[in-house]
Amino acid sequence: MSAAAIPLSETQRPWNLPYRGKVAMAGLIIAEASIFTIFVVAYLFYMGKSLTGPTPREVLETPIFFTICLLSSSLTIHYAGKVLQRGNRSAFLSLWSFTIVLGGLFLFGTGQEWHRLIYEQGLTISTNLFGTTYYSLVGLHAFHVTAGMIMLVIVAIFAFAGRVGTKHSRRIEVLSLYWHFVDAVWVVVFTVVYVLGR
């Protein structure tokens, strides 16, 4: 392309565009937020409309401890990213592993709650509208936590093999964005199911 018709100012101006990984993750988050919104709307719409069966007030126990675990994992993953940027690999490993433990605890808590609801309270996905919407919404979230956990574990494997360094900071940040999103969704789900719904 001949530069004759292009003012010199254009060729010399610095040209910085956003990092595409972050933009893509933002796009994915928008799409996922849209899916979750529909499930939350269904949950809110059907609140109090079950014809039979156990009600939220009767059977739900607020999972405070496991919520704290999940929300704390956002903090740990955030700091893991920060220390990696500064080159501190061992601190990164610790914080990253701690994130995985906290996420795992959350999933364990969900599983424990479901076990209790199904076997002790007789609430399944097909029991009534509450059962359907509850398991679908919480289950969709747990599925996303699981997907995130798989990614975290993969990174952990590479990290323990010494293959994750400062130059991967941007990608780690992208994954952290996903994890923060999962946590933010939990704040909404928690509010809708355990606060508003009872």
């Binding site: 060729t11 956003p18 799409a31 849209s34 899916i35 499930f39």
Partner: protein
């Protein structure tokens, strides 16, 4: 200009075994090849969906016809709608996006080439899964094979109780899978447009087509996912005993409608916005003027994007929402006509004072303008809620939306084919065959879809496999069916043009239309790396600046 078409000699000219070529195409991550794959895939389903339409029209040629059984007819209209929207228009539009967006912004490929390939094959698989239903869908005896619940699959018709067998599951799963493919491509388009533009290409200097694909991508993210969510809920109902749409358990059939149309209405804007983009590229070039009101066109598109998220329940005016809800959706639906009308005026403003060349791409765009005007106005008529209580669910609506999708979107897409085929293949499509295609299609289109409004006004509902004599619908339906066959002939002319021009078309050169955007600065077809050196731009029409150094756009910015 030609300094940018340096090709490295000797690469890729030796004869290759066909298996190797096939392998290259199947494993490609090149946006141009994926674009072609998407487009060819869409064209295949254009023919399949068209055959389904012809079957419908033969059956409806006269009252009490028995060309096909009601069961087959119901599958035909379900598959026709589902195919044309999800496996014809969307792939073709994503194909043009893939091909053109990187070239137009001076990039070498999309932001995520492997995600690009993955998304394509996911969508492609979805289409094949839908059609496998003809073979694999039978569940209980007599339960049918291909889905027959209409392309909306309204609850509770889609529930296990009313759709035993697996036909509805094929509908659900194929759209779920291809929906994820669409989301992947949308993410890719957005990341490419925001992160891969060549130096100097500020957002205000992008070709309008790129702007429109950016908006379309954003809408796909927000609008397709509600359908995915609803379909997951439907699967929970059908297989896990859930009650999302189980009216016997207190569930709501209306909730499905809301979720579906929260997807369904923005979806048609997803389809039409790239068509607007095609017009915004073609009309200026063949009027020899820049687009009139570039910033307003961008603002109007963004406005349409947002407003289209607020109109969905105009598909539900007969469902029994209260008068306040009905009024809300009436005003939002009328409001979205305002930015849309502004765009039409701006295209007219572009042609005004120009030197219009009636080449085939421009013919199709002019057809769009006339037809989209009518389509928009019949939309406004239906936005008037009480009027819609008569018109809804009748052939008036069928005529309206085909006017938009065929008379609007398909015409604009044909224009895009004729305009960019030289760039993609290096050869011109035949103008003579193009004119045959255009006029045959115009005649067939108007014969079918102008007349089709009338049976609706005479009380003919949609989705009926036959109708009573003595209602006054017979002759009208016959005319509609004849028009469909004329359109089919026009499509055959088009396909023939595509094929014969590939081998015998005139060599195009890099810039056959004397156009102004970056894709015309590379060779036709472009080399794998698109540009030998990354371009630097100073205006929205970099090639105009080069061809007119005494009067470049850059001095007016």
């Amino acid at each position: 200009m030609s300094s940018n078409t340096i090709t490295i000699p000797g690469i890729g000219v030796e004869e290759k075994p066909w298996l190797e070529t096939l392998h290259e195409w199947v494993t490609t991550v090149d946006h141009k090849r994926l674009g072609i794959l998407y487009i060819v895939y869409g064209l295949g389903f254009l023919v399949v969906g068209g055959v389904e339409a012809l079957i419908i029209r033969i059956q409806l040629m006269h009252s009490h016809n028995d060309f096909v059984s009601p069961q087959v007819f119901n599958r035909m209209f379900t598959m026709h709608g589902t195919t044309m929207i999800f496996f014809m228009v969307m792939p073709v539009l994503f194909g043009f996006a893939n091909y053109l967006v990187p070239l137009m912004i001076g990039a070498r490929d999309m932001a995520f080439p492997r995600l690009n390939a993955f998304s394509f094959w996911l969508s492609a698989f979805g289409g094949l899964l839908l059609y496998f239903s003809f073979l694999g869908g039978s569940g209980l005896y007599g339960a049918g094979n291909a889905p027959d619940v209409g392309w909306w699959a309204y609850a509770p018709l889609g529930a296990r109780a009313f759709s035993p067998g697996h036909s509805t599951d094929y509908w659900t799963l194929s759209l779920l899978v291809s929906g994820f493919g669409s989301i992947g491509t949308a993410i890719n388009i957005i990341a490419t447009v925001l992160c891969m533009r060549c130096p100097g290409m500020k957002l205000g200097r992008m070709p309008l087509l790129v702007w429109l694909y950016l908006v379309m991508g954003g809408m796909v993210l927000i609008a397709i996912t509600p359908l995915s969510a609803a379909q997951i809920m439907l699967l929970v109902d059908r297989y896990l005993g859930g009650h999302f749409f189980d009216t016997q358990a207190g569930g709501s059939a209306v909730l499905w409608m809301h979720f579906f149309w929260i997807f369904g209405h923005p979806e048609v804007y997803v389809l039409v916005i790239p068509a607007f983009g095609f017009l915004s590229e073609i009309i200026p070039v063949f009027s020899r003027k820049p687009i009139f009101g570039y910033p307003v066109m961008v603002a109007a598109t963004v406005g349409i994007g947002f407003l289209s998220l607020t109109v969905w329940a105009h598909h539900m005016f007969t469902v029994g929402m209260n008068s306040y809800a009905n009024s809300f959706f009436a005003i939002t639906t009328m409001a979205v006509g305002i930015p849309t009308g502004i765009k039409i005026f701006n295209w007219i403003g572009t042609m005004w004072g120009g030197r219009i060349q009636f080449k085939v791409p421009m013919l199709f765009c002019i057809g769009f303008l006339f037809q989209f005007l009518i389509a928009g106005l019949t939309g406004i008529i239906q936005a008037s809620v009480p009027v819609d209580w008569q018109l809804s669910l009748s052939y008036f609506v069928v005529a309206h939306f085909h006017y938009v999708i065929v008379g609007g979107i398909l015409f604009a897409t044909f224009g895009a084919f004729y305009y960019w085929y030289p760039k993609i293949t290096g050869r011109m499509l035949s103008e003579r065959l193009g004119k045959w295609h255009f006029w045959l299609f115009v005649i067939g289109f108007h014969l079918t879809f102008d007349v089709m409004h009338i049976p609706g006004l005479l009380g003919m509902p949609r989705r009926i496999y036959t109708y009573e004599p003595g209602r006054g619908w017979d002759t009208l339906n016959l005319i509609v069916s004849i028009g469909a066959f004329i359109q089919a002939v026009a499509i055959l002319v088009f396909v023939w043009n595509l094929i014969i021009s590939y081998f015998k078309g005139a060599k195009a050169g890099s810039d056959p239309w004397d156009a102004w955007t970056l894709e015309w600065s590379t060779s036709s077809p472009p080399p794998a790396y698109n540009f030998a050196t990354v371009p630097v731009v100073a205006s929205a029409r970099p090639l105009w600046d080069l061809k007119h150094p005494e009067d470049p756009d850059s001095q007016y910015e």
